[in-house]
C-alpha cells in the first residue's frame, strides 16, 4: 500500500534499473536478503529515502537505488527484491542473482532476520558462492533480544569467513558498525577465505573435472566453481544471461561442452541424475546452514514464539478469524467516517474563507470578471473541494491501515481468505495486492508481481480495480456522510454509515471472487497453482513514524496531485460550462446527451460526465459534479460543506442516486495511471482493454439492476 509520490502515479511504472554514477569513486553496493527481513528499512535508514516498508513478504518488487555517504566515501545502495534463494526459480530471484553477479556491485550486504537466522543462512551461503565481498547484516536484533535468542557473532563470523554485524535498523542501531565493516570489505584487497559449501563426493568429483576448464576460459571474471556447478546443473536462465554478458555461449565451446559431458557422465556413474543432483545441492546448502548456526545461535527460551501463536489463535482461528477481520475493518471505517466529518467542515470553512478573500483581491486590482470567474470559481474552487472532501478521510484511514500493515496483519488476511481464492482458482496472495489497492490501484498492480503464476497474476491485475483506491474511497465516505449521517451524527447514524461502507467494500471483495472465478472458467482457464505464504512474526508498529510518514508524506502527495490534476480539470469544466453553443453551454450539451443513459443506471448525465472526466484521477469526480451542477445554475452560492448535500438534492439526488453513484464508483474503469501500469506489467493492450472493460460492464450491469429494482419497488 505504498502511497508516496514514488510508488503511485506515473512513477509506479517501473522502468528497470539504470545506475547513474555521479563520480567514478562511488561504490555500488547491493542489499540482498530474504523477503520481510527489513531490507527496505536498512535501505531507508542508510539513504534517507522513503522506500515503502511494512511487515509482509514481497513489498519490494522493484530494484530501488539511493545514495549515501559514509566517512567520505559515496555509496550507491541498490535494494533488490527479497528472495529465499538465488537459484532463479522466479523472476525476482533472477533479478537478484543477475544484479549480484553481473550488475557490478563492489560488495553485497545480505540482510538477515535474527529471529530466523538458520533459514536466512541459505541465501548467505548462495551469495558467498558468487562473490567473496559480502557483509552479513543480522537485522531485527531488538526482536531477537525480546525472544531471548542469543547470537555469538565472533563464532558466526569465524564460521562464515566474512564480516557479520548485528543491527536494529528500525532504531538505526549498529548501522555505523556495518558501514565500517563494509568499507573494510571494499578497501581491503587481501584475500578472504569465506565459507565454501562442501558438496557430496560425487558432486565434488564432477566439479573437479570441469572447473579447471571453466577457470581457464573465464580468467577469473566470475567465480569458476559456481559457474561450473551451474553448467553441470543445466541452469538455463543463467546460461542465457551469461551469453548476453560474455557475448558467446560458454556451454557450447568445444572443450567446455566436452567437460560438461564428462562431469555429467561421472555423476551418472555414481547414480546421480539431474533431479537428484538438484536435491543433493539443496540438501548440502541447508545442512551447511544448520551446521553454521549450531554453535552460534542459541534459543534461551524454547517457546519464544508463544505470544505470536496466541495472537494467531484469535486472528486466524476458525470461529474468530473472519469476524475479527470484518470487525477491524468496520472499526477503522467508523473512526474514519466519524473522525473525518469535523476536519472536513473546518477545512471547507477555511478554504472558502480564502476564496472570498481572493475574490476581494481580484476586485481590488480591478481584474476582469471572466478572469476572476475562471481562476477563482473554476480552478480554486475545484481545488478547495478536492482538499476539503478528500484529505480528512485519507489522513485518518491510511495511518490506521498502515499500523495494521506494520503489525504484520496483512498476510493473516491472505491466510484467512486463501480458501476462497482457491475456490476461485486464484492465488491467496491476491489478498495482499488488494490491500495495496486500497492505497493506489497502480501500486496494487505492480504488487501483483508477488504472484508467481502468470495466469493468477493476470487475474489479480484485472480484478484489482474492485478495491476502491485512495481517490475513490473518500468519494464513498463523502456520499455516505452526506446522505446517511446527516447533520446530527448520532450513534445510530454513524453505525449505519459504517455498516454501509463495510458493505460496499465487502461487495468489492465478493465481486473480486466472482470475477476471478469467471475469468478462471473462461478466458484465463486453469487450476490453482501451489503456493507458500510466510506469516511473519508480529512486530510492534512504529506508531510515531507511521503517523508522521503517512500524514506528512501523503498529505503533501495528495495536495500535489490535486494541483496537478484538479486545477486543469477545473479550468476545463469552467470553460465547458461557459461557452455557449446554441442556447446551452457545451457542458449542458454533454450532460443532457448522457442524461438518458445516466438515468437508466440510477444516476444522471452530470455524474456520468464526472466519471468520464475523472479518468486521469478519481479524486476529482465529486468536485466535477459540484462544479457542473453549480454551472448549470440551480444553486450558485454556498458557504459550507453541509450545503453540498443541498446542491445535490436540488439537482434531483435521492438515496437511490447516492447508492448508484457509490456502486459505480466501486465498479468502473480504472484511472489512466492504472491502465498504463496494467499495460506495462502485462505487456499487452489486450489485457489492458479487458481490465478496462470488465469493471465497467459489471458497474453498468449492477447499477442498472439496482436502479430498475428500486423503480419497480417504487422506491426511486
Amino acid at each position: 500500500m505504498g502511497l508516496t509520490s514514488h510508488s503511485t502515479g506515473i512513477k509506479a511504472v517501473d522502468n528497470g534499473l539504470h545506475i547513474v554514477k555521479e563520480d567514478e569513486n562511488e561504490r555500488i553496493v547491493a542489499l540482498a536478503g530474504n523477503p520481510n527481513v527489513g531490507k527496505s528499512t536498512v535501505f531507508n535508514e542508510l539513504t534517507g529515502l522513503n522506500q515503502h516498508t511494512g511487515n509482509w513478504p514481497g513489498k519490494t518488487v522493484t530494484n530501488a537505488q539511493g545514495k549515501c555517504r559514509y566517512k567520505d566515501t559515496g555509496f550507491i545502495m541498490v535494494d533488490i527484491p527479497g528472495t529465499y534463494s538465488l537459484m532463479a526459480h522466479s523472476a525476482e530471484e533472477e533479478v537478484a542473482r543477475d544484479f549480484i553477479c553481473f550488475g557490478g556491485p563492489e560488495a553485497v550486504i545480505v540482510v538477515c532476520d535474527a529471529t530466523c537466522l538458520e533459514r536466512n543462512m541459505n541465501l548467505v551461503l548462495q551469495t558467498l558462492e558468487i562473490t567473496d565481498n559480502v557483509v552479513v547484516c543480522v537485522n531485527l536484533m531488538d526482536e531477537a533480544k525480546k525472544k531471548k535468542i542469543r547470537i555469538d557473532f565472533d563464532q558466526l563470523e569465524q564460521n562464515l569467513g566474512v564480516p557479520v554485524v548485528g543491527v536494529s535498523a528500525r532504531s538505526g542501531k549498529g548501522l555505523d558498525g556495518m558501514m565500517d565493516r563494509l568499507l573494510e570489505v571494499i578497501e581491503n584487497k587481501e584475500e578472504r577465505h569465506p565459507f565454501r559449501i562442501k558438496y557430496t563426493a560425487p558432486i565434488e568429483k564432477a566439479i573437479g573435472i570441469l572447473q579447471p576448464l571453466v577457470e581457464e576460459q573465464l580468467e577469473g571474471a566470475l567465480d569458476s566453481r559456481w559457474i561450473t556447478l551451474k553448467l553441470i546443473d543445466r541452469d538455463e536462465t543463467l546460461m542465457h544471461t551469461l551469453h548476453e554478458q560474455l557475448g558467446y555461449e560458454l556451454a557450447e565451446l568445444p572443450q567446455i561442452a566436452e567437460g560438461i559431458e564428462q562431469a555429467r557422465n561421472s555423476l551418472e556413474e555414481d547414480g546421480i541424475e539431474l533431479e537428484k543432483l538438484q536435491d543433493n545441492i539443496v540438501s548440502c546448502i541447508v545442512l551447511s546452514a544448520e551446521g553454521i548456526c549450531l554453535d552460534s545461535v542459541f534459543f534461551d527460551r524454547c517457546n519464544y514464539n508463544a505470544r505470536d501463536r496466541k495472537i494467531d489463535k484469535i486472528l486466524t482461528s476458525k470461529w474468530t478469524g473472519i469476524p475479527v477481520m470484518l470487525l477491524m475493518l468496520a472499526v477503522i471505517f467508523w473512526i474514519t467516517i466519524t473522525g473525518a466529518n469535523y476536519p472536513s467542515q473546518l477545512l471547507s470553512d477555511g478554504l472558502f474563507w480564502v476564496e472570498d478573500r481572493l475574490s476581494e483581491f481580484f476586485m481590488w486590482i480591478g481584474a476582469p470578471v471572466w478572469l476572476h470567474d475562471m481562476l477563482v470559481l473554476g480552478i480554486y474552487r475545484v481545488l478547495a473541494w478536492v482538499v476539503a472532501v478528500m484529505l480528512p478521510p485519507m489522513a485518518i484511514f491510511f495511518p490506521l491501515f498502515t499500523l495494521l500493515e506494520d503489525l504484520g496483519y496483512l498476510p493473516r488476511v491472505a491466510f484467512n481468505l486463501d480458501k476462497y481464492f482457491k475456490k476461485a482458482c486464484a492465488c491467496g496472495k491476491q489478498a495482499l495486492t488488494m490491500c495495496m489497492g486500497f492505497g493506489c490501484n497502480a501500486a496494487g498492480i505492480v504488487g501483483c508481481r508477488i504472484i508467481d503464476s502468470p495466469r493468477e497474476r493476470l487475474i489479480a491485475m484485472i480484478t484489482n480495480n474492485f478495491v476502491p483506491c485512495n481517490g475513490r474511497f473518500p468519494t464513498l465516505i463523502a456520499i455516505i456522510s452526506m446522505f446517511f449521517i446527516g447533520a446530527a451524527a448520532g450513534v445510530f447514524q454513524s453505525a449505519l454509515s459504517t455498516l454501509l461502507l463495510t458493505g460496499v467494500i465487502v461487495l468489492g471483495v465478493v465481486m473480486t471472487f466472482l470475477v476471478s472465478k469467471l475469468l478462471s472458467k473462461t478466458i484465463l482457464k486453469g487450476i490453482p497453482s501451489s503456493f507458500t505464504l510466510e506469516l511473519p512474526p508480529y512486530r510492534r508498529p512504529q506508531i510515531g513514524k507511521v503517523l508522521v510518514r503517512s500524514i506528512v508524506d501523503r498529505t503533501l502527495f495528495v495536495l500535489g496531485r490535486a494541483v496537478m490534476i484538479a486545477a486543469p480539470a477545473g479550468l476545463i469544466i469552467w470553460i465547458l460550462a461557459n461557452i455557449q453553443v446554441g442556447d446551452m453551454s457545451i457542458l449542458a450539451h454533454c450532460t443532457s446527451f448522457l442524461d438518458p443513459f445516466g438515468k437508466l443506471l440510477g444516476m444522471d448525465g452530470v455524474i456520468i460526465m464526472a466519471f468520464i472526466l475523472g479518468f486521469p484521477a478519481n479524486e476529482i469526480v465529486i468536485p466535477i459534479m459540484i462544479m457542473a451542477y453549480m454551472a448549470t445554475g440551480s444553486l450558485s452560492d454556498y458557504q459550507s460543506l453541509s450545503q453540498l448535500k443541498d446542491i445535490l438534492v436540488g439537482n434531483g439526488w435521492t438515496w437511490v442516486t447516492a447508492v448508484s453513484t457509490m456502486l459505480f464508483s466501486l465498479m468502473h474503469w480504472p484511472c489512466s495511471t492504472t491502465c498504463l501500469t496494467i499495460r506495462k506489467e502485462s505487456q499487452s493492450w489486450k489485457w489492458t482493454l479487458v481490465s478496462f472493460a470488465i469493471p465497467t460492464v459489471m458497474g453498468i450491469l449492477i447499477c442498472f439492476l439496482f436502479a430498475s429494482a428500486m423503480r419497480l419497488l417504487g422506491l426511486a
Binding site: 529465499y84 534463494s85 537459484m87 526459480h89 529471529t115 530466523c116 537466522l117 538458520e118 533459514r119 541459505n122 538438484q278 536435491d279 539443496v282 540438501s283 541447508v286 546452514a289 514464539n305 505470536d308 501463536r309 494467531d312 489463535k313 486466524t316 482461528s317 476458525k318 470461529w319 478469524g321 473472519i322 491466510f415 484467512n416 486463501d418 480458501k419 476462497y420 482457491k422 491467496g428 508467481d452 490453482p528 501451489s530 503456493f531 507458500t532 505464504l533 510466510e534 506469516l535 511473519p536 512474526p537
Partner: protein, 78 residues
C-alpha cells in the same frame, strides 16, 4: 508404509513430525527446498485457517502456510 507415516496435511495441530519424503515436483519442490524443507526437517503443525485450508506450519523458525494439495505431497513421520 510405516504406521506412523502420514501426509503433512493430516498432522494434527500442535504436533511435530519429521519429513521423510518430499513427493512434490517442479517449482513447488524447489520452493519448499528453498525454505529449508528437505528430508529430515522437523515440521510443527501450528494452526488451520478459518476455512480449514491452508494450514500454517513452523518450518525452521518461520511460519509458512501451505495449501492441502501441497502439504499432502509431503510425507512425515511422528
Amino acid at each position: 508404509m510405516n504406521e506412523n507415516t502420514l501426509t503433512l496435511d493430516h498432522l494434527s495441530e500442535g504436533k511435530t513430525a519429521k519429513v521423510t519424503n518430499l513427493l512434490s515436483s517442479g517449482s513447488m519442490r524447489r520452493r519448499l527446498q528453498d525454505i529449508g524443507l528437505i528430508e529430515g526437517t522437523q515440521v510443527e503443525c501450528l494452526q488451520k485457517s478459518p476455512a480449514g485450508d491452508p494450514i500454517a506450519f513452523l518450518i525452521r523458525g518461520a511460519v509458512i502456510a501451505l495449501r492441502s494439495e501441497d502439504s499432502s505431497n509431503i510425507l512425515v513421520e511422528c
